[in-house]
């Protein structure tokens, strides 16, 4: 268990810090000035020191300098009411991992203590690759919901409420949506919620949508940003991308466009799930005339997934399509293409599906040779045999 030393001449600060550090599951010891602090460091090793600046006998910078002179490299977080740049710059030169200004919020202390103890190095060089870094794709919500914030799929920022209502009627019920009509309300909402996609109208009166989108991005760094715009003869997609949007959704909405939007931001994410060398296609839940798009997207997802399985050095690839629709010839065509891709990367390919699918595959010359199994366990048993 990590042990932390808090050095501060204020008993109340030491008490508060000690309680919070103990709540994190760490041991804590206290010292009331730099002299006591150095003495404690001489007696045993600590994993982290939380150090005040202004103290009697020996102040924080003095203690820090002595520590480093003595070869003690224990990470130090300054915890102080001192915010003069010359003072902080001075202790940074001697070597601190991070800095917390008093009075502090418990979550800041927790976050920075954990960051340093987990070897992330505290403040670190966070700006090194800022310009070159591409926008992150929208990850799974479970990976990014911040503590205490409710996750919502879509935020619509448009001054006309009818736009929210219209989009609501065109989205499936399981996709959650919040609508706001002003920039202020959008900012407030983005402080309180975590969104997967934020739609921003480009014609809100008195609002520069590019600026608003940039502001919202600060609060929603993982969300995708889609502009709501009218169709024009211009290259609207190019224009909104130049302003920092990821995409555009045209108004008035068409069901086709909205379905594409859903496909891009909500369905592809779990259309093909992977567990080791088994890929499982999700069920198709849409209108029959959307099935082509379903197979197009699943084909795109497969191309990425197969490389990951190959990279993990599996020799067999099992594709479970029990939930995929068997109407028409789209599924056999997809399986044929998948088998070819598996062959190209040097993997053996097996299909898991329903008895109906087996009949269909047997009815085509090109697919009747595919290795077929009625369950994943049987497919895996066969590959181990």
């Amino acid at each position: 268990m990590a042990t932390i030393l808090t050095v501060d001449d204020s008993r109340s600060v030491r008490t508060i810090v000690s309680k919070q550090v103990k709540d994190l599951g760490f041991e804590v010891e206290e010292a009331e000035d730099g002299v006591q602090g150095l003495s404690k460091l001489g007696e045993r090793e600590y994993d982290l020191v939380l150090l005040d600046v202004t103290m009697p006998n020996l102040d924080g910078p003095g203690m820090l300098a002595k520590m480093r002179e003595n070869g003690n490299k224990t990470p130090v977080i300054m915890l102080t009411s001192e915010s003069k740049r010359s003072v902080v710059s001075g202790v940074m030169k001697i070597g601190i991992a991070d800095y917390i200004l008093k009075p502090f919020k418990p979550e800041e202390l927790r976050a920075k203590v954990l960051s340093v103890l987990q070897g992330e190095g505290g403040a670190g060089e966070v700006l090194a690759a800022t310009s070159e870094q591409p926008a992150a794709p929208a990850p799974e919500p479970s990976a990014r919901v911040e503590a205490g914030k409710q996750f919502v799929d879509v935020l619509v920022v448009d001054d006309m409420e009818n736009v929210h209502k219209k989009l609501r009627t065109m989205l499936p019920a399981h996709i959650t949506l919040n609508g706001v009509t002003s920039a202020q309300a959008a900012l407030q909402s983005c402080r309180q919620r975590v969104y997967r996609v934020t739609l921003v109208d480009t014609e809100i009166p008195d609002v520069d949508s590019a600026v608003l989108a940039q502001q919202l991005k600060v609060l929603q760094p993982h969300a995708a940003f889609v502009a709501l715009a009218l169709r024009t003869t211009n290259d609207v997609l190019g224009e909104v991308r130049a302003q920092g949007f990821d995409n555009v959704l045209f108004k008035p909405f068409s069901q086709d466009n909205v379905d594409d939007f859903i496909g891009q931001y909500f369905e592809n994410l779990d259309l093909l799930t992977a567990e080791e060398n088994v890929l499982k296609a999700a069920a198709f839940a849409g209108r029959a005339d959307r099935m082509d798009k379903y197979y197009n997207r699943i084909g795109e997802a497969f191309a990425g997934a197969i490389n990951k399985v190959a990279a993990a050095c599996f020799e067999d690839l099992v594709l479970d399509v029990s939930a995929a629709p068997t109407t028409g010839d789209r599924l056999p065509k997809f399986l044929l293409s998948a088998a070819e891709q598996a062959k190209q990367v040097g993997m053996r390919f097996a299909v898991v599906g329903s008895p109906d699918l087996q009949k269909i595959l047997n009815s085509y010359t090109e697919t009747k040779e595919l290795r077929f199994y009625p369950s994943v366990s049987e497919a895996q048993a066969a590959s181990q045999a």
């Binding site: 403040a123 800022t130 202020q184 949508s209 600026v211």
Partner: protein, 288 residues
């Protein structure tokens, strides 16, 4: 007389002129002054503002360009100036008027300082953009003051540079005596630009919080964490850390200001990355 002593004297002259109100500061063009006056009326008629701005075709063209940019949407059809102003809204028009005027202050015909002032202007735009975005962390959408405060935080620099240029001409051409070196130039500007910037902001009747930022944003105000001063101070350090600055900086001090700002503003690494991602390109593209 040593160069250091000479620069101290120059500094005293600049400060004395400020205190005596005898320093000649750039004025707002009459078109801008009148338009800003009319815009104070919350029930403003944009047709009236348009009539005033039309007298400055360059300014009118700039506002039209902004209003018809895709950022304000509807980018395809032609609009009249009053339609453009209505689309932009009073707050944005006010900011754009001040921005257009301030940019002229940073333009110099003297090649010696022109390039440097262009960089200071780009830095100012970066700080303005960051200030507006950092303000969003507090959920506050009224970002025009933050933008202006960031934009004008260094506005005293080109003014002091122009004064020094004039001093240099007098010394070298009239009295045939040497002038201070470039390092001393930078030092005099660093020591005097804030007081000159404050005088300029007051003359332009900028909001009090904008003036306060020009005066105080070299350090954080830990008594008022949510202050605009702290937002501009943090944004200034982030712009420098991102490499958008003129002249030389002390990297240790910049790191210290970023580290303090992370705690004061409550910005984690992820937020900082989002704030600064593509900033150089955004600033460069704004005024190409």
């Amino acid at each position: 007389m040593s160069s250091e002593r000479f620069s101290e004297q120059l500094e005293q002259i600049v400060l004395k002129r400020i205190s005596e109100d005898s320093l000649v500061l750039p004025t707002l063009p009459s078109v801008v002054t009148k338009a800003l006056e009319v815009l104070k009326d919350p029930e403003v008629a944009f047709k009236q503002v348009g009539t005033i701005i039309e007298r400055d075709p360059v300014l009118a063209a700039r506002l039209l360009r902004m209003a018809t940019s895709a950022a304000f949407a509807g980018g395809t059809k032609k609009v009249t100036l009053s339609e453009a102003l209505t689309r932009l809204g009073a707050k944005s028009v006010r900011t754009l008027l001040v921005e257009a005027t301030a940019q002229k202050v940073f333009v110099s015909r003297d090649p010696k300082i022109a390039e440097s002032m262009k960089k200071v202007w780009q830095h100012s735009v970066a700080v303005a953009t960051l200030s507006r975005d950092v303000l969003a962390l507090s959920g506050n959408a009224d970002s025009e003051a933050a933008y202006l405060a960031g934009l004008l935080h260094d506005v005293g620099k080109p003014v002091v540079a122009a004064i020094l240029l004039e001093f240099e001409r007098q010394m070298t051409e009239v009295y045939n005596r040497p002038f201070i070196d470039s390092a001393e130039w930078v030092a005099v500007i660093a020591r005097t630009h804030r007081v000159v910037g404050v005088a300029l902001a007051e003359k332009w009747q900028m909001p009090e919080q904008v003036t306060r930022c020009i005066r105080d944003s070299a350090e954080y105000d830990n008594a008022d964490r949510a202050s605009l001063v702290n937002i501009v101070c943090f944004s200034n350090s982030l712009a420098k850390k991102t490499g958008i600055f003129a002249g030389s900086i002390d990297p240790d001090e910049v790191d210290a200001l970023v580290m303090i700002g992370r705690s004061i503003i409550g910005a984690n690494d992820e937020i900082i990355k989002t704030l600064t991602r593509g900033l150089k390109e955004r600033v460069a593209n704004l005024y190409d």
